[in-house]
Assembly symmetry: C2
Homo-oligomer: 476 residues x 2
């Protein structure tokens, strides 16, 4: 068995397990109490706070422990927005933030606030200039992740923090994916993170709020954790989380180099081994342990199932693996293929042999799923697909471009609409237009992405009875 | 060492520790994932939910795990209020609820809602009739604890649940202190609890919402736990919490009988062993493991320190042990003495010998603190103090009642104002009035309580320069 989904949750670090066991004995009591069990818990909590603050790059009294990374984000954003309500109610986020940030943004918008989502390039990276341009006089808060959780792309947080300072806007950095690897660079104002991402136990998040940042906690008052995280503190889990963070940081440099080499190998080899595959995310400015690729004509859920049978646990941003029927908002914002999406995130200590075994298993797993779906044979010029400068994502249609062929994929889910398109594209003359009727949300992303990968011209979409009509011009 | 504060937090049950260790190995992954580690976590989570639901007396799909009892209360109250916003914005609570309920009520009032606090008798018990009378056509929610956390008094939840049903109002029962001992009786609508109170780990709360109860979760949307508890679930802690709940329930009947006998012994012996002491809370309808008493002329913090030195960890509702300078709202609502307050809550397994040792140590500890404070010698008729029917808490003054003596206790904290009063009461003639000038918040509770205990007549209070003037008429 190989668990390659540490970006979802890392297995408990051995140091965390040991610290947890010790703290269950020593730190179970209420740290607010005056008797010895309480004082002991208090000492452990204070020491954990110092350790975590050092790793986060802030003062201990700037950091509180929350019950999860999600709570840190929800409560951090709400508190920062409320603290600057007099300035205004404008919130800036990137389009590729973790869903908990976007949930907070949606709640803010529903409550009458305004939100600007800053887009990314095709690698998932926010342009610092575009981010700075979104800041306004009434901007209460800006949020930017340190690195993306689905594709590994690092964001320009140091530059954006500087731009935010210049604009007088606090920047909240969601560091959930990167804190294991090092402190967040730059002069951020708020920081959030989640312990189970770095090998700590679940149930612990971090929220750091620098001195001087206006912050007004929402919800009922509670005296715990400086009034910023209500409820009885889980001291044993906090102690374990801090111990794990210190431990992974001590190993970070060496382990980052080792995993980065393994990730580079996957990035290079997958397109060679598996035809019609796109590796996504910034090739250089990226997390060391995470790599994501998408495979044409593949049902993500079926591929995950095949890989699971072969002993590999990975995750996917394909809509067909989620309950929502909508592909990952990250892949959508990047404008890349969502079907057959696979995220590999290697936990510390991953053996080279396991990665080799994964590379050995993957081609057969993909081929199996493709065969089952009746996918077309690999295109000429494969492996790797090809990009044509003529491809125009979101291109234009002229009045005379009536489709010579319509593919009815209504009621069929990803990746079937794209497979049906690929099957017939060779049947029409060069320059002719094909329409694909589909009602699956992934088609909106995957048909243009397929065109970009295969050098076909995407013309655009029109409402159609029962769904949407996507128009593609054949470019031979 | 004897830890007698299980009402704050119980030591981890051995079964919980074992379950936690196993679940750290088996249940660390994301239960929403499709691979085997995720499926395994899901199975554990589902099983824990069934166990907890059975213990709570609800269906598994009515119960979610929160990150603490406080979060269960905060989010349960907010969701129930929002779900019935169209009905109205009136909230009913008892005056002796846990602070997290009263915090929610205060937040609701600050947000424009209205709150009725239903008082209790001197034993801390809510009268069902008074509670039912507080329900109005615009009442969105009513909250009543199953048993009080400071004095152990059980509340009439079954009757109140029936009254609430009749009025069409959902009743939320905070069962934090009682769930270890048995299910909450009656037809409640929502229920909250906290695992570390029953020997589970910290970081786990329960929120049950019966089918048909209108509930609209507040805050950013999140798909976890039926949308009612955001954030990555702490499956190992949840598994341990459920295992501990099942274990304590299996032992509950036998252990309740055993601890009840020990508590009865404390209730009977403390007034015999320690002069000028009042045992508080309902003598019959009470939790089996908890007993509370207050000692005149004693500084609660000093007494806790003495007991800690002697190896006993207990808690106190005295203001001098808290950071707020205000005595426990529970003792205030009951109208009982707050100074020298001690709560003893015995964890399961407490040995009889430990209780005997406590009873052996207590008189010396109290005497030591009293001597240090220069407290008066025990009154005639001690031990136990005496109650006079002439005592009129909140009594009246007539125009001619000018004090013959004024005790200036401004700037002196509890229990000094009461000690100074007691020292001079014998110096004035029968029927004469003494004024005590004090600015300590505890004086407002403790001077009338002292009068009630010592058969003196409390006349009332007046604003005075720098504080308040409390008037007492000597009754010889």
């Amino acid at each position: 068995m190989a668990y390659f989904d540490s970006a979802s949750s890392a297995p408990l670090h051995p140091v965390a397990r040991q610290a947890l066991l010790a703290a269950l004995d020593e730190g179970w009591a209420d740290p607010a109490r005056l008797y010895r069990e309480g004082r002991r818990a208090r000492l452990l909590l204070d020491a954990a706070r110092e350790t975590a603050a050092e790793a986060a790059g802030c003062r201990p009294d700037e950091l509180v422990f929350t019950s999860s990374g999600t709570r840190a984000v929800h409560d951090g954003i709400a508190g920062a927005l409320a603290g600057r309500r007099r300035v205004g109610r404008h919130l800036v986020v990137s389009a590729v933030e973790h869903s908990c940030v976007l949930q907070s943004a949606a709640a803010h918008a529903a409550d009458g606030g305004t939100v600007t989502e800053v887009g990314t390039d095709r690698a998932g990276r926010v342009a610092p200039g575009a981010y700075a341009a979104a800041l306004r006089p009434d901007t209460a808060l800006a949020c930017l992740q340190s690195a993306n959780h689905e594709v590994g792309t690092e964001q320009p947080v140091a530059q954006s923090a500087q731009d935010c300072r210049a604009a007088g806007v606090p920047l909240l950095v969601d560091a959930a994916q990167s804190l294991a690897w090092g402190p967040v660079p730059g002069d951020w104002s708020l920081l959030t993170a989640s312990a189970h991402k770095w090998g700590g136990p679940p149930g612990v998040g971090l929220l750091a709020v620098r001195k001087g940042v206006r912050f007004a906690p929402r919800g009922p008052a509670d005296e715990r954790e400086s009034g910023r995280a209500p409820g009885f503190p889980d001291v044993p889990a906090v102690v374990a989380a801090a111990a794990a963070l210190r431990a992974v940081r001590q190993e970070a440099e060496r382990e980052a180099a080792r995993l980065r080499a393994l990730v580079e190998r996957i990035r290079a080899r997958v397109p060679e081994l598996v035809p019609e595959t796109e590796v996504v995310g910034d090739p250089v400015r990226r997390l060391p342990h995470l790599v994501t690729f998408s495979c044409l004509y593949v049902d993500g859920e079926a591929l995950l199932h095949e890989l699971d049978r072969a002993g590999f646990s990975v995750s996917s941003g394909s809509s067909c693996t989620a309950s929502t029927l909508v592909p990952s908002h990250v892949l959508r914002a990047m404008g890349v293929l969502s079907e057959g999406n696979v995220r590999v995130s290697l936990p510390p200590g991953t053996a080279e042999a396991e990665v080799e075994r994964f590379l050995g298993v993957l081609p057969g797993a993909v081929a199996e799923v493709r065969a089952r779906l009746g996918a077309p044979a690999p295109a000429d010029g494969a492996p790797g697909g090809r990009r044509s400068p003529a491809a125009r994502p979101g291109g234009e249609e002229s009045a005379g471009d009536e489709p010579v062929l319509t593919v009815d994929a209504l009621g069929r889910r990803c990746p079937v609409p794209v497979i049906e398109l690929a099957k017939v594209i060779g049947d029409v003359p060069d320059g002719a237009v094909i329409a694909v009727l589909a009602d699956d949300a992934a088609a909106r992303l995957d048909i243009p992405a397929w065109c970009a990968m295969r050098g076909q011209e995407y013309l655009g979409e029109r409402p159609a009875e029962g769904g949407t009509s996507y128009r593609v011009r054949r470019r031979a």
